[in-house]
Each structure stands twice: as C-alpha cells, then as structure tokens.
Subunit: 293 residues, 2 copies
Amino acid sequence: MFIGAIEAGGTKIVCGIGKEDGQIVDRVSFPTENPDVTIPRIVEYFRDKSIEAIGVGTFGPINLDKNSPQYGFITTTPKPGWSNFDFLGTLKTFFDLPFGWDTDVNAAALSEAVWGAAKNLDSCVYYTIGTGVGVGVYAEGRLVHGLMHPEGGHVPVKRHPDDAFAGFCPYHSDCLEGMAAGPAIEKRWGIKGSELPVDHPAWAMEAHYIGQALTSTILMLAPKKIILGGGVMHQEQLFPLIRSEVQKNLNGYMNIPEIVSGIDSYIVPPGLGDNAGLCGALALGLAALKQGS
Amino acid sequence: MFIGAIEAGGTKIVCGIGKEDGQIVDRVSFPTENPDVTIPRIVEYFRDKSIEAIGVGTFGPINLDKNSPQYGFITTTPKPGWSNFDFLGTLKTFFDLPFGWDTDVNAAALSEAVWGAAKNLDSCVYYTIGTGVGVGVYAEGRLVHGLMHPEGGHVPVKRHPDDAFAGFCPYHSDCLEGMAAGPAIEKRWGIKGSELPVDHPAWAMEAHYIGQALTSTILMLAPKKIILGGGVMHQEQLFPLIRSEVQKNLNGYMNIPEIVSGIDSYIVPPGLGDNAGLCGALALGLAALKQGS
C-alpha cells in the first residue's frame, strides 16, 4: 500500500510516496512558487502513482476547522498567491482520495510519535528552530488544535540579562522567535549562526531562550518527549546547554526521572532527521485513510 | 442514576452525589485532616448511597500513570500523612465501583467543558488563582496529561517594570504563582487582596502576570475558552484588565474573532461558579462509568 505525502514549506515543496512503515520510496522537490505554477507540478507528480490517500503538512497559518467554509485554506501568509488560497480544496478536485491536512510542525510531531524519537509514546512536542520557530503538539494520542493550530514560536520570554538585542519579530519584537530564530542570531552578532564557533557566548544565550520556552511547555503539558529540529538545532552543542537551562529553571519542581536523571534522552533531536517533515505528511495521509476522511 | 463525587482540597474535602445532567443533589464537607481521620469520613458518607461510580478530583501532585504501581497516589505533598498515600487504592478497598481520578483543576476543566462555560466545545483551559495557581487542560475532547498532570501555575513570567517584589515560590521565586497568587499580592502590598480598592495599581500588576500566562497558553494551545476561577478572580475588575493585556501581548498576531472582537466571552469566570470543583469530580465519575474503568 502506498500513500502520497506533501511537505509544503515556504521555500520548497517536497512530494513523496511512502509505505505504512514510514519508509519513503520516492520523492521529488521544487521551489514554492505561485499556486498556478506549483499545483500543476504536484498534480503531475501524483497523477500516475497508485496511492490510497494523501497527507499534506504545510506552512501556515492554515484553517483546520472542519466546520468552516475555509477549511483547508492557507490563511494570512504574505507569500504571493497563497493568502486565502484553498490549498486542500484545489488538490481534492484532482484526486478523489482521503486527505490528511495539518501544519508542517504538527505533521512532524505526529511522525516522530509514530516512527521517530517519541515512538510508542502518547505525547510529544516538536519544535523547529530555523528561519522562524514553530511548534507541533501531540497529547493524549492526538495532534492538538483549538481555535487554530499552535503558534508557540511566539510565546513571551524573559530577556537574557546580557542581551541588548531588540528582537526582530514584527508583531512582538522580543518573543521566542524574535530572540532565538536564525535571523535573531545573525542580527544580534552580525554573523550567521553557522559561522559562530561552538564555544561562542551566542549559544548560552540561545539556550537561555529555548530552555525557557521548554520549561513552560513542560509545566503546561509535561510531554513525554521534546524534540528539537530545524537549522539552528544542527548546532549540537545547544542540546546540553538547553537541558541544563531546563533543569535550572525547574529547580527540582517536576521531580520525575525523565527530567532529573534522564534528560539526555528526553530533550532530543528528531529521530527521523530530515525526513520528519515528509514522514509527517505520510503519517497524516495514513491517519486520514484509517478515518476514511 | 447517581454518581459520587469527591473534591479533595488542601483545606477541606467535599463529598457529594450528583446526576448525569450535572445536578448536585446532596453534599457534605469536612476539614482535610490526616487520612486516618479523613478516609473513614468519606467512606461513611458514601456507604449507604446508591451510586454507580465515584469521581475524585484532588489536590496534588498525584500519580496519573495507569501503568505505574503508584497510580492513584498523592505523591510529594507536604501535607501530613498524605505524602505517598494511596488515596485511590484505599477508596477502592471500600467500594467496588468504577473510579475517576484526576487533579482538582483538570476536573474543573472537564466540568466546565461538559456543563459550564465551555459546554459543547472540545477544548478549554481552566486556571484557578487563589492560595496557589493551578491549571487544567482539556484539548481535542480529552483531559491532557503527559509525564504527569499540568503544573502551569509555575511557568516563568517577565517581571512588571514597576515590581520589586522578589516572589514567594520556594522553587522558582518569581514564577506565575510566586508573583500572582493571593499570598504574592498580600506580601507585595502588605494587605490582603480582598481589602485593596478596585482601582489600586495592584490589579494592573496582577493582570500583567496573568495576561502573560494566558498569552502563552493561547499561542501554545489556542483553547476555545479560557476560564479563570479561584479566590483572586472574585476581583471582577481583573477580567477586563487581563483581556486587554492578552490583546496587547498578541498584538493582532492571532487574528481570530474570539480574541479580536469576542474576548469578553472568551476569557470568562467559571460557568458553574463554586460548583466547578465538585461537578468536576462528578464528571470524572461519569466518564469512568462510561469507560467501565
């Protein structure tokens, strides 16, 4: 059995075919251009494939309310052509199949729970820290949505005492994304994060912000695993720094083994590595097939 | 059909009998003393009642992991006699009935979703702000637990610029509870909150802290309703101040009607008023009966 997967990012679209065990057997990618250009490419790729469902994990914000006439739309993105675009509805006119539909980060959280670092667990939180910060939440065996999907990249954070950087988020200036996403590092230090040495003070500052957000996440949701992906997290020296921040912040309050003694296997990189996104779309497609939606 | 309900607080225990529609038909309350004194009182109350299940919403922290030998225990409380006490297991030796078991705040969140301010919604977050701060999370139609239950009262918060108070939380000093619970107000201003005038600057400061926590909650979970209970929230002037803080913090980022134009009916007091706790235990009992657990 084969399932189609669409990982729609702001810069590129990855389409693939995968199996029930999470194995990706084929993939293709192309730049995210105007939907008039991009949709035909997606349709062309899947047209001759024997697939039983398609999952879409996409950039957002998106409408996830099945009772809304705008369900399946990309909503307020500045990306030309995609604002208020009926992404899911357009795909459905070409394929009479069950469709899964969620954000790229919720998809990644799901794939990590099904096949990755949170396998066999009923909860995890997935952070991607790169050009922006995104959060996917999986709790009690389900992806979490409410009025909309999580936008946890924009939570307020306390400033690091040595940090004079104003923050770059156009809405909140010094929220988590404004202080800790890749562009914040570059603007604060005048050099790309990937070019900073591993013992540069930038990383302790970065861990201060990420650790703070993770502390709140643990206190609010106590997920069974926290997974940190995205370009910034390729800086592996961040992991021990972030784990220390979390323990320092909690100060023994959540006295559970995963946090007190097992934190090295509690706050971890994606088990699926760079496949988390596409596998996430695959997992959404599989779930849609099972639900017949 | 009648269901038993136990609302176990740090100072008093309320036992009651209720019906499927949330109506409480009988209740009794007594101080929370040592379990040797308290358990027999609970047993005595329910002994001659024709009930089909019992729900327990209790102070914590508690063990909620059904695979743990300590499932049903009160864990690390300083309350004499209750630390590492098998509360649920002890009750089960007296009553061969399905038992519901969760924190008092999760119970309150559930009752508000079943009969109260979040009726017919599949998500809500319940805050109680009183002697301490507690949070119950209901998402995707389920109460949320992970490694343990939420402890969202202890999330980090940014200080108000005019606030020199150190905070009173023994673990984190200036976390939400340390800055915004009843004792913080009293220690900061030297007078009980209930004796401060409604236009005192204490309330704007209080709204700063609560509004910040709610902002994070909305960004992480986007619950369909936020319910604020507890003694501090009897100060009704706080509601408009908190709503303004949330809108100011989000700064138009979550552009959804509930927050932009409908916030007066989005951040609200408990629909069940002072019955939220006992009704919550009732709802836990009903849920246990349906699941046959």
